[in-house]
């Protein structure tokens, strides 16, 4: 009896452990993709994965003459899990880490990729620290930074001749930092602040705040909220016709995915866009065609940015002709993508941030094959207005 107790326990534990760390062939280029494939950001991660897959298929899943093997890990929209999965991927000897969505997860993962000296491609997280205070040699961002989004918002408010802005801001550090920077920017443009509210992430009722904003005399409403709160605030704003009373704008406030969640109330909402499928560059047209053929839908901004960053990275790896990670990193830091999906993107070697154009769009009703809510590009900002020179 006793023997059996310990025997079973030992056998179970041993078998399970043996199954977990499979040995892997060394003759492939391994990419570890850490994305939220479930939880609140599940839809975002899934879109990024789809975009990334197109980048791989475009090159027949090969780089440096070897097949590419991608190991997708679901971070479950939790930084803790993201870190856990990244650690495991690094221990499996991946050549590149791709991800994450949330800036907190990306920053935590960067500590690991730096320590293991593994290149890390970021195509969505926008926190300035990623290519600022906490930048590392190994992490690159090919997508927008918060500073860039902020510059666009300020410029948008000026071009739209908004006189007074009311801010509804998610009460977390990035939200508060962003709002502080934006207020300073708006002040230089002689745009007044009519009022501000900080609201907890996950607030389920925005109607009182929206009512305050609409009575404040402001003609612009800056909605700086995240995740499901975007949908909550816009749905509840649509009921009281907030967008007819003031111009509603923000960062990542509206796109085709969110439009599906908010419904017809989305029309007329203004937002920064990281990417849009209507961009006319040849690469983008090819990408959109391939994406539609495979998934039967237009690529979202998350998919587009993921495709763009990963294809750029793999092309750069190819040019080095060898398997030296340090050489890849050096080459990428000095590279310029002349034909990215949104024109020229230039990697700044000072901070590993890609300088690029910025887009602002308004939600309109989609016609024909387009999604029911489709973004129309209303403003395009040149890289020179969005980026301060490297110091």
């Amino acid at each position: 009896m006793r023997m059996r107790v310990s025997g079973i326990a030992a056998a179970t534990v041993a078998t399970l452990m043996a199954c977990v760390g499979p040995a892997m062939a060394q003759d492939s280029f391994k990419i570890g993709g850490v994305l939220p494939l479930s939880g609140a950001f599940g839809i975002v991660g899934e879109n990024m994965r789809r975009g990334a897959v197109i980048a791989l298929e475009e090159r027949d899943n090969k780089v440096l003459g070897k097949p590419i093997q991608v190991i997708w890990e679901d971070s479950e929209t939790s930084t803790q899990v993201a870190v856990q999965k990244t650690t495991r991927l690094l221990s499996q000897g991946v050549h590149t880490i791709f991800g994450e969505v949330s800036s907190g997860s990306t920053l935590a993962m960067m500590k690991l990729t730096e320590q293991r000296k593994v290149p890390h491609i970021v195509t969505l997280s926008a926190d300035d620290r990623i290519t600022g205070a906490d930048k590392t040699r190994y992490a690159f961002r090919t997508s927008n930074s918060v500073a860039m989004e902020n510059a666009m918002i300020g410029e948008f408010a000026r071009r739209q001749k908004i006189a007074k802005v009311y801010g509804i801001v998610a009460d977390y550090q990035v939200g508060r930092d962003m709002w502080t920077a934006l207020k300073a920017d708006l002040a230089t443009k002689n745009i007044a602040i009519a009022g501000e509210d900080f609201t907890p992430i996950g607030t389920k009722d925005y109607s009182i705040l929206l009512d305050k904003a609409s009575k404040s005399g402001a003609d612009g409403l800056m909605l700086l909220v995240v995740g499901g709160d975007v949908v909550t605030s816009l749905k509840q704003g649509a009921d009281v016709g907030i967008k007819d009373k003031m111009k509603v704008f923000g960062t990542m406030l509206m796109d085709e995915t969110l439009g599906q969640a908010v419904g017809p109330g989305s029309i007329g909402i203004n937002s920064t866009l990281r990417y849009h499928f209507t961009e006319r560059s040849p690469r983008n047209q090819k990408f959109v065609a391939a994406y539609r053929a495979k998934y039967n839908e237009y690529p979202s901004q998350y998919a587009g940015e993921a495709y763009d960053g990963l294809s750029w990275w793999l092309d750069t790896v190819e040019t080095t002709g060898g398997w030296d990670k340090e050489k890849w990193v050096d080459a990428f830091a000095n590279s310029t993508r002349f034909d990215s999906v949104e024109g020229v993107k230039k990697m700044r070697r000072c901070d590993n941030q890609a300088s690029q154009i910025g887009l602002f769009g308004t939600a309109v009703a989609g016609t024909g094959e387009l999604p029911p809510v489709t973004m129309k590009i209303t403003e395009t900002f040149g890289a020179e207005t969005l980026f301060k020179p490297c110091s």
Binding site: M1, R2, R4, V5, S6, A9, A10, T12, V13, A14, L16, M17, A18, C19, V20, G21, P22, A23, S38, D74, S78, T79, Q80, V81, V83, Q84, T87, R88, L90, S91, Q92, S102, S103, G104, L107, A108, M110, K111, L112, Q115, D127, D171, Y172, Q173, V174, P200, I201
Partner: protein, 308 residues
Amino acid sequence: MIARETLAALTLGAVALSVRLLWPDDGTLYFAMLVMIWSIFALGYDISFGLTGLLSFGHAAFFGMGAYAAAWTMQRGGAGFGTGLAAAMLMGAVLALAFAALATRVSGLFFALMTLMLGELVSLIMTTRLRGLSGGVDGLPGVPRPDWFGVDFFENRHFYWVVLALFLLTLLACGLLRRSPLGQALLAVRQNPVRAGQLGLDVALHRLIAVTVSGAFSGLAGALLAGLMMYAGPQTLGWRISGDVVIMAVLGGSGTLIGPVLGVVLVEALREWLSLYTQHTYGLIGLIIILCTLYLPRGIAGLWKARA
């Protein structure tokens, strides 16, 4: 009975040791460390639940705050890893004492609800109000590991020894506690608080002691997890973590020494294993939990007892 428990514990220790010796690849070691750390948490939890009968739903607070306490003492205070662990245990114990002082005023399910709410309050304060300390929703990356004797503990095969040692110590401590007069008194409080009171035991005091000790181990586990991941974050404070530890303890066999450990192995292994074969990992785990609840009333550890 006791001898069997000792033997089972020894076997667990031997398995954990042989993993390090026989499969020293990083992925396996990482998984084994995760299991051991969660086992410390589950063992600690079971002092409050299995031994004393207090169904707490707020243990994530002790676990998560242990992680933060360790991060603070090491990152801000510049202290060593050992001090960090001590601070984590202290944090867990103090917080648990506070929870227990409030929540032992009620019994049964109300105790569970009260601890759940207190835990959520801690989580809320940390994420939204004390952002400067906690790093807000981003958490605190870069929690260090020890730097003893010039060994590089950032290598998992070295850090493994630290985790292994603490796991074995916890197992030993819990085993001794269960046999000690204190452990017997706690068991009496669980089985029949009224009679225990009539026999002259201070029931309220014993409940406080149990939750406090339990909190100290939870804090230790949290600190080790922070060391393993090199990250401390607010997700470890959430109620689902509390739920996880209850699930693990009950599935494995609450009230036994090795039960909670078996529960951890089961859940973590299912999570790893199923995700290799299917996308529906969590649904299947849910189904398995329900089936185990229905058909294994005494957990995995009860399988053998029932037949004995």
